[in-house]
Symmetry: C2
Subunit: 95 residues, 2 copies
Amino acid sequence: MSDDSLCMDNVVYVGRKFFMRYVLAVLMKLNMFNCREAVIKARGSNVSKAVLVAVSSKQLSQAINLRSINLGSIYLEAEGVRRRLSTIKIVISKA
Amino acid sequence: MSDDSLCMDNVVYVGRKFFMRYVLAVLMKLNMFNCREAVIKARGSNVSKAVLVAVSSKQLSQAINLRSINLGSIYLEAEGVRRRLSTIKIVISKA
C-alpha cells in the first residue's frame, strides 16, 4: 500500500461548525493522510470562515503554501427568491 | 490636468450596504475616475460580500481582471473578548 492511497478525498467543505474543526481537517488531510494538496470550499456566508481556515492552517503549520484562490458565484433558489451566492475555493499544498 | 489625477483613492471598503453599491463604486473608479486598479477590502462576515463584488464587477464589465487576492486575519477586541477576523484584499485591474 503506497502512501498516496491513504488520501481518498482532499476536499474540506466549510459549513456551520467552529472554524478550528476545519483547520484540523485540513491539517489531518495533509499530514496524516499524506495528501499533497487540500482544497477548502465554501459558499455564501461561510466564505469568510474559509479564509480564516486557510490563514490559521498556514499559521499552525509553517510547511504549507496557499497555492491558488478561486472566486465565483452561483445562483440558488430559496423560497421562490433567486439569490446570488459567492463561492471560494482555496488550494493548499505542502511546501 | 492629466487623466490620472482624477483617481484620488482606489480602495473600496465593503461594509453593510447592498453589494451592488460596491460594484458600482468599483466600476466608477475604473471607468469614470480612470484608476488603473481598484482594491476591494473587507473583513469578517463582509468577506463573502467582497467576493460577490469582485465576481459581479467582472461579469458586468468584460475588460476587468482579478489581479491578485490576499487573505489574512486580524485580532479584534470587542467587549473584552479577543476575536479573530478574516480579511480579504482583492486587486482588480483594467485589462
